[in-house]
Symmetry: C2
Subunit: 204 residues, 2 copies
């Protein structure tokens, strides 16, 4: 499966994956495109089109085989290839993300948090240690971490990003409301919560 | 300005807005499309095209007038029209969102949190009271709240959503990793963090 899948399709496939997980929990063996479409309030032809992009063979007369469809999504989206990440900033948002166990099943392995607050350093949250931000360059090298999840307050975002980049981490998932100024070889993904909110409420 | 603006444009405009806010803080009076484009690593023709969608008159020989461009974005995206919301679930994520003061400047007025944890009920976070979830139907009516920001653990998401809907709240911003099953007159916006992450890391 080497075809480039669009961002919108990736987004929908992860929602299908949530639904499939839920069906497995409930003990359902089969699912139809119509059932998925109804839950997401989209057209079922869209669901079938997306699923056709997968190498999915688990189709029966009564619908897709839930477990096989789930596995097909995982294979296509590369969940199997685990990526190591740090959370930078052990505030409420950093803590919330550290507790979010779903990440692991999507191939995101959060192996630690960093902060400069001495009352937090050394503690663990969901079995993950909170390290001293000063130790980031050395630990990133030891752990082979490529991704930083940035959750510091907005006013510290740019300086912290520069420190992260100097620690040789080239991918930043930015949860701060600050647009970062970074060199060309660094990739930033802005988790633009307000943009998402405005998309949602634009027509209210 | 009645033209329907696409989700992608809304998303970019909010990022421009972050940059403009930052320029104002730094005391810069003018900004060029090239400066915005460089920060976001996009094409400056794209930036100019987006800005042309606004009723923006603040263009000078040395660039856009930062304050006027910011105001144009706010007018177009309807920041002025304040929307009232509750956060349902006063865990780490709920707390993080309650502390996120940027929401207010985007017209999102979070007027309270709800939880069922008696050790939390009655406390305040960032001047917002944590209420007993049992009081949701009555308070939603009193406060005239239309939007619920759902941050409970995934396994409680569906039941909580039903309670929210029965409290006559018809817009749910869903931060849980659960796809909600809701009636046709209810709108759900899935803040699909894993989908966003996979879009980001798909090519790593």
């Amino acid at each position: 499966m080497n075809t480039k899948i669009s961002e919108k399709v990736i987004n929908r496939l992860t929602l299908y994956h949530c639904i499939l997980q839920d069906f497995i929990t409930k003990g359902n063996e089969y699912i139809s495109s119509k059932q998925i479409a109804t839950l997401l309030k989209i057209d079922d032809s869209q669901v079938r089109k997306d699923i056709n992009l997968l190498n999915n063979s688990g189709k029966s007369r009564v619908g897709y085989i839930v477990k096989e469809l789930k596995k097909s999504i995982e294979t296509t989206l590369g969940f199997a290839k685990t990526k190591k990440a740090y959370i930078i900033g052990a505030g409420n948002l950093g803590m919330a993300l550290a507790k979010y166990d779903n990440f692991t099943s999507y191939g995101l392995n959060i192996i630690g948090l960093f902060d400069n607050d001495k009352t937090k350093i050394g503690k663990t949250i969901n079995s993950k240690t909170i390290y001293n931000i000063k130790d980031l360059p050395q630990l990133a090298k030891e752990h082979g971490v490529e991704i930083a999840i940035l959750t510091v307050p907005g006013k510290f975002a740019q300086n912290t990003a520069e420190f992260i980049i100097n620690s040789n981490i080239k991918y930043i998932w930015n949860f701060t409301p600050t647009v970062l100024n970074v060199p060309d070889d660094v990739q930033v993904w802005n988790e633009n919560l307000m943009g998402n909110f405005l998309q949602f409420t634009y027509n209210i």
